[in-house]
């Protein structure tokens, strides 16, 4: 099945590309730093638990963290050395437990790496196992554990495999350089996934201005004699690299709202991910580093750097020639969806594809927001056909139900609406806050519901216990009555009455007397 035409997607923006800053710079290898700070969470899912102790010797590729359950990815030592601390450390997005390794400079590979496998003859099960043990996650920035994605894909069945080589955010060129310099790895990694999933069709998507990358890929396809992978170029329109928009323009089909590409028989993988998978399979290499673009008007020599995970970002900036005088902003990722960083004293993680250092012209401080004038520029730019101006209205009124019914959950937070807004309204921030508010409210409702159920259950239990106690008392009374009847036989009923009166008086005395020894049986008496 050959497709030649593209289907496009609604909305989107032509953004400045900023690619020429760094796309000419060949991937340089960063030296191993003296100290590696390896966060125990570098993926979506549960944070890893450390499996090393302070003082342990580790080699490159040794596992230092393992997820507690299914949803997570293993973390490995990025070089050889000694674990000197297990402690919280500032990371991208806050503070988190890290394994700190003082490197020994030898950078020796671990002797117990998993064995190389024959990629032509690998079962899906083995591949999934290998991806898990090598800590392979989505290298495009999403960092979803690849083994879980593949397991789900195998269960659901995939007809179309899309390898995503699109970097639609301005400035990012790490995948471009990866493809240009290691096209063979990308092609073979792609083939690995394709063969394991037995898909009908495999597409490798690039942006149309990435001509060198395309040439390199076609060369690699020819060299490997691969004919079942087709390279497709799409217009450089943001956010064409977003999974849903990519699928829409390649196939004309929409991923259902709230669903996954798997629901329509498709799977997307980033080029960096398939290359990492290829290394994991053929060399047994866990993910211990990644390529990161360091670019922007705020660095002297924009570069693409392959660095070890845990390397301080400041060292990467140094490798790119350091800050220029105009450096004013530091962003992890691109200028549209990236995370603003306050400091460069943070370690490199698996999801960090770009360090963007902007000046006040490119990445200015946000301007004060004006009221929405309902111009609709945001709706024209929205790739999922939302009406951000209406969402904004509902968000102003804290109207969470209206927000939800207007499609807030479908927002991919691409930022297109906020960039075109003439009133400079921070729409994405509003929508993210609203999503959080909705999640909190749902949690609160769930809690309230649980509390209500618990209360109702308790009331029920108390009622039941009361009834049981009553029943027991009644039965005891009957038994007592029967017993006294049979014991006294034909005795004078008056005698029994006197006996009962004596008994009552004794009990009363016991109850009124202060003293701990007596009060307990009294209470017991009363209860039975």
């Amino acid at each position: 099945m050959m497709r030649s035409r593209l289907f496009g997607f609604p909305g989107g923006l032509r953004l400045p590309r900023w690619k020429d800053l760094s796309d000419h710079a060949a991937i340089m290898t960063a030296p191993v730093p003296d100290k590696l700070i390896i966060p125990l969470q570098q993926h979506t899912g549960d944070a890893c638990r450390p499996v090393v102790a302070v003082g342990d010797r580790v080699s490159r590729g040794d596992r230092v963290g393992q997820p507690p359950g299914y949803y997570g990815a293993c973390i490995h030592a990025a070089s050889s050395g000694t674990v000197i601390a297990l402690e919280n450390h500032p990371v991208i997005g806050g503070s988190a437990p890290c394994v700190v390794i003082r490197t020994d400079g030898a950078d020796t590979w671990s002797p117990c790496l998993p064995p190389p496998l024959d990629p032509g003859n690998i079962g899906t099960e083995t591949l999934i196992e290998r991806l898990w043990s090598c800590g392979v996650v989505g290298m495009g920035g999403a960092t979803f554990p690849t083994d879980i994605k593949l397991a789900a894909a195998r269960a659901a069945g995939v007809r179309l495999l899309i390898i995503n080589g699109i970097e639609c955010e301005p400035g990012i060129t790490c995948d471009d350089r990866l493809i240009r310099e290691r096209a063979r790895e990308v092609v073979l990694g792609t083939r690995l996934f394709r063969d394991c999933l037995a898909v009908d069709e495999t597409l490798l998507a690039l942006e149309e201005d990435r001509t060198e990358a395309r040439t390199a890929l076609e060369q690699a396809l020819a060299d490997t004699g691969e004919t079942g992978i087709r390279v497709v170029s799409v217009p450089a329109r943001y956010p064409s690299g977003s999974e849903r928009q990519l699928i829409e323009q390649l196939t004309g089909r929409e991923v259902p709202s709230g669903g996954l590409p798997l629901d329509i028989g498709m799977l997307c993988q980033n080029v960096g991910t398939v290359a990492a998978a290829w290394r994991a399979v053929t060399r047994g290499e866990p993910v211990t580093g990644r390529i990161v673009t360091v670019t922007g008007q705020g660095v002297c020599r924009p570069a693409n750097i392959e660095a070890r995970l845990g390397t301080p970002l400041a060292e990467l900036i140094e490798l790119a020639g350091g800050y220029t005088d105009s450096a004013a902003r530091l962003v992890m990722g691109g200028p549209m969806m990236g995370v603003s960083l306050t400091t460069d004293a943070l370690p490199l993680t698996k999801g960090c594809n770009c360090l963007l250092v902007g000046d006040n012209g490119d990445l200015p401080a946000p301007q004060p927001a004006m009221p929405c004038i309902r111009c609709g520029a945001c709706a024209d730019a929205c790739p999922v056909l939302l009406l951000p101006q209406q969402l904004h209205w509902h968000a102003l009124g804290q109207n969470l139900d209206s927000l939800r019914s207007a499609g807030l959950d479908d927002c991919i937070e691409c930022g297109a609406c906020a960039v075109v807004c003439p009133s400079h309204i921070p729409l994405v921030r509003e929508f993210r806050d609203a999503k959080t508010a909705i999640a909190m409210r749902d949690l609160e409702r769930e809690r309230a519901e649980r509390a209500r159920q618990r209360f109702a259950f308790r009331q029920q239990r108390l009622e039941r216990e009361r009834r049981e106690a009553e029943e027991q008392r009644r039965r005891k009374k009957e038994a007592l009555a029967r017993a006294s009847e049979s014991a006294s036989g034909g005795d004078d009923p008056r005698k029994a009455a006197i006996q009962a009166a004596v008994e009552r008086a004794r009990r009363k005395r016991a109850a009124s007397r202060p003293g701990h020894g007596q009060s307990v049986p009294t209470a017991d008496d009363e209860r039975t």
Binding site: S340, L341, T342, R374, G376, L385, V420
Partner: protein, 344 residues
């Protein structure tokens, strides 16, 4: 090194409210210039009075509402509303009527609803309609376009008339006034004259009406420039023009002697100003793409209906206000299908 922390997106915004409004102001200039050439100093005087009043009212209301005056005055929305209202007014209107209209539009039509972005009605049209209803005589007295009836009043005469209500040196208003083409057609059709006879008069040109056709063509040019800059979308102007032209064309085919054709309707009155500049006020218009087309169509059709069967020569202002009322409903029923969801 420490850096400030802001939320994504970090890219510099491409535009601003002030830029959008200023572009609309630029686009209105050619049409306004021709209007001034044809109708004299009064047009410029109206614009000056209106803009001054607008700035004073805006500053006053912002102060009263405790809002920062600087950024809101710089957004130019009040200036634009005042200019659009001024262009809709007869050129020799007593000054206090212009001031009243602008002040009412901005204070009651805009700020009492919460200011920029919160007004359900187009402030310029609120001001216009209030004046039209309150001062029907003054609001329909237009001078003849200069190159038909000779030269109009000079600057001094205009100033004296606007500020005192009388011309100096025995110049009579009647001598220079003339009904607008739309008004003339309406009145004379009402007297059972045939369109053929009416259009033979000097007020009418080849396309629409003498002078007015140039004004409309230049407003059209300004509007096309706005379209090209993507300041406005095509939906509203196309809707308005189609809404006027289609019924006009159909009826003129049925009764060519009673119903003026599409070209006359589009070029003789305020159609182009209305379609590209007034109806496109985003705040009070429908906001979905499909909704804007319906909104524009509604304005166009209502305008044609009012012109044809209503009590006023032009109907843009009423049509805009009526459709302003319908905008929330239109938006409700024209929400686009969200990506990945089933139909509707």
């Amino acid at each position: 090194m420490r850096f400030p922390e802001y939320s994504a997106p970090h890219l510099a915004p491409a535009t601003s409210v002030g830029l959008v409004m200023r572009r609309v102001v630029y686009a209105v200039v050619p049409g306004a210039a021709v209007m001034a050439l044809l109708f004299g100093w009064g047009v410029l005087l109206n614009m000056l009075l209106a803009v001054t009043t607008a700035l004073i009212c805006e500053a006053l209301m912002l102060r009263l509402r405790g809002r920062p005056t600087g950024p809101y005055l710089r957004d130019c929305s009040a200036v634009l509303a005042a200019l659009l209202l001024a262009l809709a007014l007869p050129p020799l209107l007593p000054w206090w009527i212009t001031v009243l209209g602008v002040a009412f539009g901005l204070i009651f039509g805009k700020h009492l609803y919460g200011g920029l972005g919160f007004n359900p009605f187009n402030p310029a049209m609120v001001g216009y309609v209030v004046l039209l209803i309150s001062f029907p005589r003054e609001m329909t007295l237009w001078p003849a376009p200069a190159f038909i009836g000779g030269t109009g009043p000079d600057l001094w005469q205009t100033l004296v008339y606007v500020f005192s209500g009388h011309f100096p040196d025995q110049l009579q208003f009647d001598a220079i006034s003339r009904a607008t083409p739309l008004d003339e057609v309406r009145v004379r059709l009402g007297q059972d004259e045939s369109l053929q006879a009416i259009r033979g008069g000097p007020a009418f040109g080849t396309l629409g009406a003498h002078g007015w056709e140039w004004i409309n063509l230049l407003f059209l040019a300004g509007g096309l420039w706005l379209l090209r800059c993507r300041v406005i979308g095509w939906q509203i102007p196309v809707g308005v023009l189609a809404g006027i032209a289609v019924p006009a064309l159909l009826f003129s085919l049925i009764g060519p002697d009673q119903y003026p054709g599409a070209a006359f309707h589009l070029l003789a009155g305020g159609a182009m100003l209305g379609a590209f500049f007034i109806a496109t006020d985003p705040v009070s218009a429908a906001t979905t793409r499909r909704g804007r087309l319906y909104y524009g169509l509604g304005i166009g059709i209502l305008t044609w209906v009012i012109r044809t069967w209503g009590g006023y020569p032009d109907g843009i202002a009423f049509a805009v206000l009526l459709m302003n009322m319908a905008a929330p409903l239109i938006d409700q029923y024209t929400r686009p299908r969200i990506h990945g969801r089933g139909s509707a």
